[in-house]
């Protein structure tokens, strides 16, 4: 209290401060105000003292301050804004650099958020959006959304409170006037369009009349974009016949844009009845197969029904179904408000977005810290002006609001520029999208809606406050007397300001260290993933997928592949070829249960082992060497109805046979029967290069007869020149067989690595950006320090310090700044490094070379940034410096 009393101006100490304190104490004693703790009391006294100071200043400055304070709040803020715009317009270079710096930070964040918004928040673009739900069947592992058609019809019949429809994705070959192309198609049940509440652009949409008998409804509706692009917006398209997978279909209507189905990121061009699945999604199975899960469910809640009520009714239906059709894993159903993407895709995308959001957040932090440093320098440069204004009666809040106005003007401009940057980022990403034949019809567009705009506004304001508040506060704290008395030559600001700026630079150094380290780790991981061989030669390898005529899918001993295979093997330039159901190094695992004699799982059940269904020639085509035994005999396997032999890999032989020769031994293939091991092949990578070796089984395609397969072709010449030949050869064998896609293995690999490459590029761009900002920040701090120490350096030189000593002192100063930030950044980067493995398998979180590289880069930046100020310091003339100005 005594201290506060001393803080009070003499004139008011007895007359105002003392009675006010007495009142305060009386209030506490009478319980009118709660008696606060000692800190609260100190704060109360302090606020009285400050109020007295304010009154005193007001009284002394009279008219002017009275006028300033009487101005209403919005009016004064408007004045501040006008002033800020004028000030910034006078310094266009500073304004442009500041806006650009911040715009990059804001733009990156807005771009990430727009993806976040599109992928995770946006609803389906339909009139009933808020009532549409996706119904998932839950498994212990999480939501999966596939069920069989009979199960769907039961659920649809019994569920109350919502109308359900089933859908399934497929890719069909659309042939119209001799042009054939792949089109994403959604197979739907009769209520689908009614649920969405869509009305046709022309013609009609699919409804209950197209959902009666299997195979009896060859009708199709198309998306507006396809109608405009492919059919030239022809109104006469209704009733026309096109061929889908070679079968005639009648176009009955056009679905208005922007609706593109419920398939998620992959956009549907066509919608056809589920009843036509045998033709459009050929698997050789009929709809009444209860064991074949392939449909997803969407539904519309009845008006007034909540999601949790629908959930309740679905639980009852599931319980009833579980009673009637007991299954190994009981059915559990759950409804969720339908976002544009299904849950599965959202969960796949979310971690990517989160990582990138961390990058962009850090960049914004670095940009804000940089600007805060620059603003700090401006505060110092304008101390005199501030001090004069303050002694003329401008209140502290007034000064704060002026500085804030300046920062907010900058951040609003940066927010607008950031929107442009964000749009640029999105359109760059659209251009960088992997080819459609590899990833399908996936949209990379992220349109801006109100949420994105709101996010941009909030980000800009937050950034403005972030870099503005510190400098505004410091501007207000300038003690007018001290500044006005201050001599020229020590204008660079007090010790506290310097400390604050050093802290800001440390933040920037830490941020750029994290970003650079992450970029380096990811890049080295990606490099390793690209250079490591998967265990087989990837050059001269072509992958061709075919669409088979339904005749080829009829069950029976005769498969069409022998004819196709022998034709392809005979084609010029082909050295080996065979089929596989799963392409190596492609995401997606397959597994089967086996019982191996002498090996019992801990739970007593069968052993699950990953497998690939391949032809006998696959090993030759891929170049897989046999360690023991050989492949099965394709002719014998082809005559069987069940699988008779398998090939295993080295790891499996080691793990389950313990050094004995597995060739010739028999194991039980649970869903099939006993099978004999005919050979052991060398280990290769199956899903990802660099993965840990795992047991693996190859199952003969000849006896399993997979639906939908890929032909692996080893060629003697360049793959790309072969692709056309391969397609032609296939067509010659059977015109109904059409090659759906054909590309080289290396192009597929690079397309699958595209997201990782994008991540690495992003991290690298952000890292370099942060480094640049750090360099600028360092330069600012070091040159301010040199300016501040001009006299000191002059004295030292006069006393005999040589130039090299001065240079060394400045560099040491700059390096000291970098050391703390780098150590912090390396620690933070290391803590993130482990999780980077999720994205790129080859990441080694402890690679000392990368840590050294990043540290070296930072040190180099510090050196470059300190070079000019150091030279300036070394060039100081002691006489001039000591003379003062």
């Amino acid at each position: 209290m005594r201290l506060c009393r001393r803080l009070t101006p003499d004139a008011l100490r007895v007359s105002a401060f003392d009675p006010a304190v007495a009142d305060l104490e009386r209030d506490w004693a009478t319980g009118r105000r709660r008696r606060p703790g000692s800190t609260g009391r100190a704060a109360a006294y302090l606020s009285l003292a400050l109020e007295c100071r304010r009154l005193d200043a007001q009284g002394r400055l009279g008219q002017m301050s009275a006028r300033v304070n009487r101005e209403s709040w919005p009016m004064s803020f408007a004045t501040d804004f006008r002033r800020a715009v004028r000030v910034l317009a006078h310094q266009p270079l500073f304004a442009a650099v500041a806006i650009l710096t911040l715009a990059l930070g804001i733009g990156a964040n807005v771009a990430v958020f727009s993806y976040f918004d599109t992928f995770l928040l946006t609803r389906l673009p339909v009139p009933n959006a808020e009532r549409i739900v996706r119904v998932y069947s839950m498994t212990p592992a999480g939501a999966t959304d596939i069920i069989s058609y009979p199960t769907f019809t039961e659920i649809q019949k019994e569920a109350s409170g919502l109308v359900l429809a089933a859908t399934a994705p497929t890719t069909v070959l659309l042939t119209d006037r001799d042009v054939t192309e792949n089109r994403e198609t959604e197979l739907v049940t009769g209520d689908y369009f009614r649920i969405m509440g869509l009305t046709p652009l022309i013609g009609r949409l699919l409804d209950a009349q197209d959902d009666v008998a299997e195979g009896a409804h060859p009708v199709v509706v198309m998306a507006e974009s396809l109608w405009r692009a492919r059919f030239g917006s022809d109104l006469g398209v209704i009733g026309r016949t096109i061929r889908l997978n070679g079968h005639p279909f009648t176009i009955v209507g056009v679905v208005p844009a922007p609706y593109r189905g419920t398939l998620g990121a992959s956009m549907a061009d066509l919608w056809a009845p589920v009843m036509m699945q045998q033709v459009l999604r050929p698997r050789g199975l009929t709809l009444d197969n209860r064991g074949w899960g392939w449909l997803s469910m969407v539904g519309a809640l009845a008006p007034g029904t909540r999601v949790n009520r629908a959930d309740g009714s679905l639980a009852l239906v599931a319980a009833d179904l579980n009673r009637r059709f007991p299954a190994k894993v009981p059915l559990k159903l759950m409804a969720q408000p339908a976002a544009l993407l299904p849950d599965r895709e959202r969960q796949a995308i979310a971690p990517y977005l989160r990582l990138v959001a961390v990058f962009t957040g850090l960049i914004l932090l670095a940009a804000s810290a940089n600007l805060a440093g620059v603003m700090q320098t401006r505060v110092i440069a304008r101390r005199r002006e501030t001090a004069i204004r303050q002694s003329l009666g401008a209140s502290r809040w007034r000064l704060v609001s002026e500085w804030l106005a300046e920062c907010l003007v900058l951040s609003v401009c940066a927010g607008l520029a950031g929107m442009i940057v964000a749009r640029g980022v999105v359109s760059t990403l659209i251009r960088l999208k992997p080819p459609a034949e590899v990833i399908g019809n996936v949209s990379f567009d992220a349109p801006f809606d109100w949420r994105v705009l709101a996010f941009a506004a909030v980000t800009a304001l937050m950034a403005g406050l972030l870099f503005g508040l510190g400098s505004a506060w410091r501007a207000a704290l300038v003690p007018p007397g001290a500044v006005l008395k201050e001599e020229v030559g020590t204008m660079a600001g007090g010790g506290r300001g310097a400390r604050w700026r050093r802290a800001l630079v440390t933040i920037q150094v830490a941020v750029s260290t994290v970003l650079l380290l992450v970029a380096a780790l990811l890049a080295s991981g990606l490099l390793r993933a690209q250079t490591l061989t998967p265990g087989f030669e990837t050059d001269h390898l072509a992958l061709v997928t075919f669409r088979l005529p339904p005749s080829a899918l009829a069950p029976g001993p005769q498969m069409f592949t022998p004819a196709l295979l022998s034709a392809i093997r005979k084609a010029p330039g082909v050295t080996a070829a065979d089929v596989t159901r799963s392409v190596p190094l492609e995401p997606g695992q397959d597994g089967e249960d086996f019982r191996i004699p002498g090996h019992v799982e801990r739970d007593g059940g069968a052993t699950g082992i990953d497998d690939a269904v391949v032809g006998a020639g696959y090993f030759d085509a891929l170049g897989l060497k046999f360690v023991r035994g050989q492949a099965w005999d394709p002719a014998t396997e082809g005559r069987r109805d069940k699988v008779g032999s398998i090939v295993i890999n080295e790891t499996m032989a080691k793990q389950f046979w313990d050094g004995r020769d597995p060739v010739g031994s028999t194991i039980e293939f649970v869903s099939n029967g006993p099978v004999t091991v005919t050979g052991v092949v060398r280990d290769t990578a199956y899903y990802e290069v660099g993965e840990a070796p795992m047991p693996f089984v190859f199952i003969p395609a000849e006896s399993l007869r997979p639906h939908g397969f890929t032909l692996v072709v080893r060629t003697a010449v360049d793959v790309n020149s072969m692709l056309a030949t391969l397609t032609r050869v296939a067509n010659q064998v059977d015109p109904a067989i059409v090659a759906a896609t054909a590309f080289s293995f290396t192009s597929m690999r690079s397309a699958y690595l595209a997201p990782q490459r994008l991540l690495v590029t992003g991290a690298a761009v952000f890292g370099v950006l942060a480094l640049l900002l750090t360099g600028l920040g360092l330069y600012g701090v070091v040159s301010a320090a040199v300016a501040q120490r001009t006299r000191e350096i002059g004295v030292r030189m006069a006393l005999g310090a040589c130039k090299s000593q001065v240079l060394a002192a400045v560099f040491k100063d700059a390096l000291a700044l970098v050391v703390v930030g780098t150590v912090l950044g390396l620690l933070a980067g290391y803590s993130m490094a482990g999780s980077l493995r999720t994205w790129i398998a080859g990441v080694d979180p402890l690679d000392p070379r990368l840590y050294g590289l990043v540290t070296g880069l930072l040190a180099l930046t510090a050196g470059v940034a300190a070079w000019t100020p150091a030279r300036r310091a070394a060039g100081i003339d002691p006489v001039t410096a000591l003379r003062g100005s």
């Binding site: 008011l12 007359s15 105002a16 401060f17 009675p19 006010a20 007495a22 009142d23 305060l24 104490e25 009386r26 209030d27 004693a29 009478t30 319980g31 009285l48 109020e51 007295c52 009154l55 009284g59």
Partner: protein, 110 residues
């Protein structure tokens, strides 16, 4: 009738009026002013009171009292003769003003 403007401001009139009925504690005076819509911080209020004291319109002193078992100090004020005169003068000034204004209004209506 005095031609010159009154010596006290409207705020001071409010205070003088409040203390004219008897001694008043500073804290309560401030509350009464707040009740009339004049809210000020404690230091601002006491600064004003100090000015009134300086002009000898009021007289102020500290008083020790036992409140809820605790000794507290409070500043009390009482109006001086000069204060009463100033208050009366101000009242008369404004009464005359309003009378003249009303008369003028009636004339113009007539």
């Amino acid at each position: 009738m005095s031609k010159t403007l009154p010596a006290v401001t409207h705020l001071q009139v409010l205070v003088l009026e409040a203390v004219s009925e008897g001694d008043e504690v500073g804290r309560d005076l401030r509350d009464r002013l707040a009740g009339r819509g004049v809210r000020s911080s404690a230091p601002a209020f006491y600064q004003m009171m100090a000015r009134l004291e300086e002009a000898a319109f009021v007289e102020g002193w500290y008083e020790q009292r036992l409140v809820a078992g605790q000794n507290v100090k409070e500043r009390r004020y009482r109006i001086t003769r000069r204060g009463r005169r100033a208050l009366a003068e101000t009242r008369t000034f404004y009464l005359n003003r309003s009378f003249m204004l009303n008369a003028a209004k009636k004339r113009s209506h007539a």
